[in-house]
Every structure is written in structure tokens, then in C-alpha cells.
Amino acid sequence: MSAAIVIAGREIRDSLRNRRVLAATGLMAALALTLTLLGSAPTGTVGVSKLSVTIVSLASLTIFLVPLIALLIAHDAISGEMERGTMALLLAHPVRRIDVIGGKFAGHALVLAIAAIVGYGTAALALAVLGDEVEIGAWAAFATMVGTSILLGLVFIALGYLVSASVRDSRTAAAAAIGLWLFFVLIYDMALLGVLVADQGRTLTPAALNALLLANPSDVFRLINLTSGPDVSLYAGMAGVAHRSGASASILISVLVGWIAIPLLLASLVFMRREL
């Protein structure tokens, strides 16, 4: 276990030193602030809490940005070290391969968590400074949003490792990572929408739709956050889905955790079979 901690420490130091943490945090803070400050303009005084609007904006931002950042961090975690030749030396030490995956995951998870908490925290701070009255429920929803953003990021870090452990070189890993991102973030929902329109509700039952939504981690994230309160779901246009979806928040979160655990496990298995 301690080998994993040593490796995690190295990953964190590396990420701090090559300004990866700074870049990710800066990017998230900048976009979150922009969305918060601009995004609260159109609501005027219609009675929707500004924080609820911000949650909707930030959640939509998360779905695009967080998986991208996660995949950027993770896609060459294994293939890159194999390609450069540093992996052979690392594995010649008393280190199990699962320590390598576990250590890297812990380190990268922390990097991502810092980026999300600081980045989105800045937005929350801005709202607080601007002096809006915000009900307690909305803060809870905000906290859920930040927490699940991190979970979503971990899903894509795990998927990134799976890609990285499976391919021969970093360029293939990068291409596969972009493919993953496009698939889960853009193509999947468009395809699903297309199917729904074409099907006209004849064969696709609500249960099937739920299952299909759970099969995409970014939709799970959407279900958790864009349905987290009546205000939010109304504003996100997710009210319809929210009513239909039978899954409770805890089930949705376990699904996300499953989306982290299974790819991570598969990545470890693939990595253990790899030869250097």
C-alpha cells in the first residue's frame, strides 16, 4: 500500500510542477466565474434563485469540461510511461502493478478535486460576495454538483486509464480518449434523441430509457444535478425526465461509483497482462 502512496505523491508533485493543476483550476475558475456572472443576468427578478441558475450553467459546463480535463490527465498515464521507458524502471522496484494504477489514480483524483473545488468554489464565493439571498437547499444542491463533478471526473480518469493500459502508444491513447469524450458527451445523447424521435414511444419504454441514461455517466450526472430541486429541474428543462426517472440520488451516485470502479478494475487487469 505504501508504494501506492509514494507514487501518488510523485504524481501530485509532477502535476503541480508542470502546471497541470494550475491550468485545470484556472480554466474551471474562469469559465465558472463567467457563467456565474453572465448567467445570472437573464433571470432578472423572476424569483428563481441565482444559485439554481448557476447550478444549471455549471452542471452543463461540467459535462463538457470535466471529462475533457480528466481524459487529458489520464490518457497517457500508462502508455506514456511505457513509451518513454520509465515504466520498466518503476516496475523493477518492489511495486505491484495495482499500486501503480492505485497511486496514479489517487494522485490524479486529488488534482481533479482541487481543480473542481477551487474552480467552482470561486463561483460560489462570487455569488456570496454579490450578496444574494440563497436558500439552504440551493447550497446543498451546489455541493452535490461539485461532489458529483469530481465523481464524473473520476469516471473519465478511470476510462482514460483503461484506454492508456490497452493501447501501444500515447498518440493512439489520445485519439481513443477524444473518441471516448465525443461518444459520451455528444454522440450518445444525440443518438438517443434520434432514436426517441424515430421511435415515437412505440417500443422504447420509460424503463428502457432510464437504463439507457444510466449507461452513460454524463447522463447520470445530468440526472443527479439537473433534477436536484424543483427550481433546478424546471430551469434545466429536465422536469419531465426527473419525474419519470425512478432512480433515487443514492442509486444514481452508486451508478457513478460503479462507472469508476469497473473501468479502474479493467484497467488494472489489462495492465497486469501487459508485458514491457
Binding site: 508542470n18 520498466a88 518492489p94
Partner: protein, 306 residues
């Protein structure tokens, strides 16, 4: 259980259908300096990676420091192994000192020992620079320092001296000798046999994945039976009748009045004696024993011919 540091029994490693190493038996003992020689692609690196458990055997059994290294639980054994990969590369953003600390922590050794390692390889001045600024020689020194962490009982050095200047090469061999005297098993691979002459107790020659020779230099000489060459120079003013050399049986002119013969080691003295009784005395006699490269070539050629 044996006292051997490493024992390989019937090791075969195939990549797909291509065999990298075929049916190799090898035993390495404590305190031994073993030179693993062969040209590129002969299977040297494959053997080293097999000993480290980085790759798995297709068939055969490997025991390293008393355990099967390929087993998952065996990773702790590697705390007693020092490895210097061919063309060593380090994570670029760390300094030499940080890297040594990192590897020492992985081996669960005292980080405080690293300073003496840095001194030993002469890297104290550059210890706080990032490794991305290091030259090849400095990387190799750091690589050796890293391999020496925690007084390993087995040192696996993959072409450690390629591309090093002669002074650094000497330092390397001195450190390696000290480790062997300390009781460590040192295996070092090279594609140049010549520089290992006095630096190894045993030589293992690999060719196309097969172990073609294993023994001391004297054993190898005897096995190879490479001819010793005797060259006799009769001087420019000599009027040597060809009959003097027994109608030049076996002798071959290699210059004006210079003749050479290739003979087996036991026949050498008889030939020299005969030379001295000739009517025309040679001005100079040169006896050239087979060089390491000749012996090496012998083992490689033999396999190629089969």
C-alpha cells in the same frame, strides 16, 4: 532451495511466434560478475526482463533470490534487486536527488543514504538539477546510483557502459567490482566482449535467443579453439628460401618476408622452436593469441552455420 541468486531452468520466451529466448538454463551465484554478451536482438534484455518479472516466460521456471519472481506477491523481492535499464530514462520534471528519494522510498530504504550514493557516482553537484537537463553520462550515473540503493543482492545492468567515456567506464567497473566483493551478484550485458576481459568472472554468450557459451574466459578460449597466430618477420635483406619453412606448409606470406601461420594452442611452442632452428633466423616473432572478439565471433559463426 539453493544458494543461487538466480536460477533459470528451460526458459523460453516467445513474442507471438517469434522466439526471443529459447530453452535457456542459467545459474548465477552470489559474488559473481557475469557478462551477458550477444549482439542486438540476441535476447539479453529479454533475459534481464524475465529475471525482473517484467515479462512472463512462455515455458520454464525462474527463481530469483529464492522465489518465483513472476508471482504477484514476489514484488517485495525487488527491494533487493538493482536494475539499470538500457538507455535509462527518468521522469523529466524531477531532480536527481528527488528521483533517488522516490526510488529509495519505493524500496523502503533510508533516504539519508542517498547522499553517499550521489558522491559515489560523482553526481553531487548536479543532484538538484532536473534530470531533463542531464547528459547521457549523468543519466547513466544516476541510473547506477538508483540501482545501488539499499545494497542490492542482485544487480542487473543492461548495457551500462554503452556511450560512456573511458574514465566513466572505469568508475562504473570499479563500483561494480566493489559490489561483487560485497557479495552481490552482478549481471551486466554488453555487445562488446573486449572491454569485459578482466571485469567478469564468467561470460555467457547469447546468439539469436540461444545460450551458446557459458564459462570463464579460459573455458571459452579452450572451447572455441580459436587459432593462435604466429607471425615471423625475416627482415628485408633476408634471402629466405621457401624450403626453410618446410615449403611454407601452412605459412602464408602477409608482407615482404613476413609470414604468418594459424595454429592450435598446443602446437604453438613446436612451431616457435622450429622457427628458431631455421637457417634464416627471423628478425622478429609475434604471437597473437585469439582476441575476445575472435572467440566471440567463433561462437556466433558456429550458430549461424548450423
Amino acid at each position: 532451495m539453493s544458494t543461487a541468486t538466480v536460477s533459470l531452468r528451460g526458459i523460453t520466451k516467445r513474442y507471438g511466434n517469434r522466439p526471443a529466448v529459447t530453452d535457456v538454463d542459467l545459474v548465477l551465484l552470489p559474488g559473481e560478475r557475469i557478462a551477458l554478451v550477444g549482439h542486438n536482438g540476441a535476447g539479453k534484455s529479454t533475459l534481464i526482463k524475465l529475471m525482473l518479472g517484467l515479462i512472463r516466460t512462455s515455458t520454464g521456471q525462474i527463481d530469483v533470490l529464492g522465489a518465483d519472481i513472476t508471482r504477484h506477491k514476489a514484488s517485495a523481492i525487488r527491494a533487493d534487486i538493482g536494475y539499470l535499464p538500457e538507455n535509462v530514462v527518468f521522469p523529466p520534471a524531477m531532480t536527481g536527488r528527488e528521483l533517488l528519494s522516490f526510488y529509495a522510498r519505493l524500496k523502503r530504504r533510508d533516504v539519508a543514504q542517498n547522499q553517499s550514493l550521489l558522491e559515489r557516482v560523482g553526481l553531487v553537484d548536479a543532484a538538484d538539477q532536473r534530470t531533463s537537463t542531464y547528459s547521457k553520462g549523468m543519466r547513466q550515473r544516476l541510473g547506477l546510483a538508483q540501482a545501488l540503493i539499499g545494497r542490492p543482492r542482485l544487480l542487473l545492468l543492461d548495457e551500462p557502459t554503452t556511450g560512456l567515456d573511458p574514465a566513466l567506464r572505469r568508475t562504473f567497473y570499479d563500483i561494480i567490482d566493489a559490489c561483487a566483493q560485497d557479495g552481490a551478484t552482478v549481471l551486466l550485458s554488453s555487445h562488446a566482449l573486449a572491454e569485459l576481459e578482466s571485469r567478469s568472472d564468467r561470460i555467457v554468450v547469447m546468439n539469436r535467443g540461444l545460450k551458446v557459451a557459458d564459462g570463464t574466459l579460459a573455458d571459452l578460449r579452450a572451447l572455441a579453439r580459436c587459432p593462435t597466430r604466429i607471425r615471423a618477420d625475416f627482415g628485408t635483406d633476408s634471402t629466405l628460401p621457401a624450403e626453410s619453412l618446410g615449403n611454407r606448409a601452412g605459412w602464408r606470406a602477409v608482407g615482404v618476408n613476413i609470414y604468418e601461420i594459424a595454429c592450435a594452442e598446443p602446437d604453438k611452442m613446436a612451431l616457435v622452436r622450429r622457427l628458431m632452428t631455421l637457417p634464416a633466423q627471423p628478425r622478429d616473432i609475434e604471437i597473437v593469441p585469439p582476441t575476445l572478439d575472435d572467440i566471440y565471433a567463433h561462437f556466433l559463426d558456429r550458430k549461424a552455420a548450423e
